[in-house]
Assembly symmetry: C2
Homo-oligomer: 140 residues x 2
Amino acid sequence: MLNQLHHTAEDMIRHNGGRATAGRIGILAILLAEQQAITHREIEQRLPQEQQLDRVTLYRALEWLAEKNLIHKVTSDDRAWRYHANRDVQSHQHAHFKCTCCAQVICLDKLPVERNWPLPAGYRLQEIELTVKGLCANCC
Amino acid sequence: MLNQLHHTAEDMIRHNGGRATAGRIGILAILLAEQQAITHREIEQRLPQEQQLDRVTLYRALEWLAEKNLIHKVTSDDRAWRYHANRDVQSHQHAHFKCTCCAQVICLDKLPVERNWPLPAGYRLQEIELTVKGLCANCC
DNA sequence: CAAATAAATGCAACAATGTTGTGATTATTG
DNA sequence: CAATAATCACAACATTGTTGCATTTATTTG
Ligand SMILES: [Mn+2]
Ligand SMILES: [Mn+2]
Ligand SMILES: [Zn+2]
Ligand SMILES: [Zn+2]
């Protein structure tokens, strides 16, 4: 099961012309297995003891994966990026939900906001970032 | 003009039962004068030389002003809070625009998003945080 | 398979932003 | 003016992320 994900991860990495290193494969497998968007720290904790990576290496691997569009970064109000594998649905813009109690972040399907936003004259829209804050099912 | 704002700021602070210190008044006057939401650092730079405040004092003053609802904080993707005085319009929820080039942040009037968002079962909505990213008139 | 090479890694140092604790100062009250 | 609680300044710390550079390694090539 996790082995399957490792295989998938390796494929995804090779398809993008990157080196299939243990670190990258492990990180991407973790993100593929995860339902939520998780932080750098949480990824570190999920890595098996025998293949801990340097903080910087982890940051750079995540940066590479994001560049190649295999994962995406989510901004949060606690100053920590969260990362999540790109599934079909998430490849285009979508909103996020963050629990104000336990801080979990999940990706929501749609982005039900009109693209032609009423901006001041001369302003150009590039991207909409939307986070719904509230309580998750566990914290309600 | 700026003197007028100082007077207004002092009134707002006293109305909330706080001590009218030079620091608080100066900070709030700066935020009242500003069209955009600005960072801690930018506030510091706008303070006259003779009344520079300690970083921590500035943080705590901003915290107090936000608690009293005289200003509001804006989350951004660059890990720095931005602050803006609460005018009538901004007292309720609104969206923000951030220029991806010069990083300026302005408050937008409305929040044209349906409040009854389609969340997973058991989830409860508290607040919607929306940032439109793009290019401002200067950077276009 | 072995050597060559570019890519990835590990480590140390640094930067930005924000927080906590505590003793000194000050705005306000009477 | 004196008393007092609120505010402030300073030092120390925490978290998250970045940069430079020497070392290691995955992949390619012969
Ligand atoms: Mn997402
Ligand atoms: Mn605002
Ligand atoms: Zn929760
Ligand atoms: Zn701009």
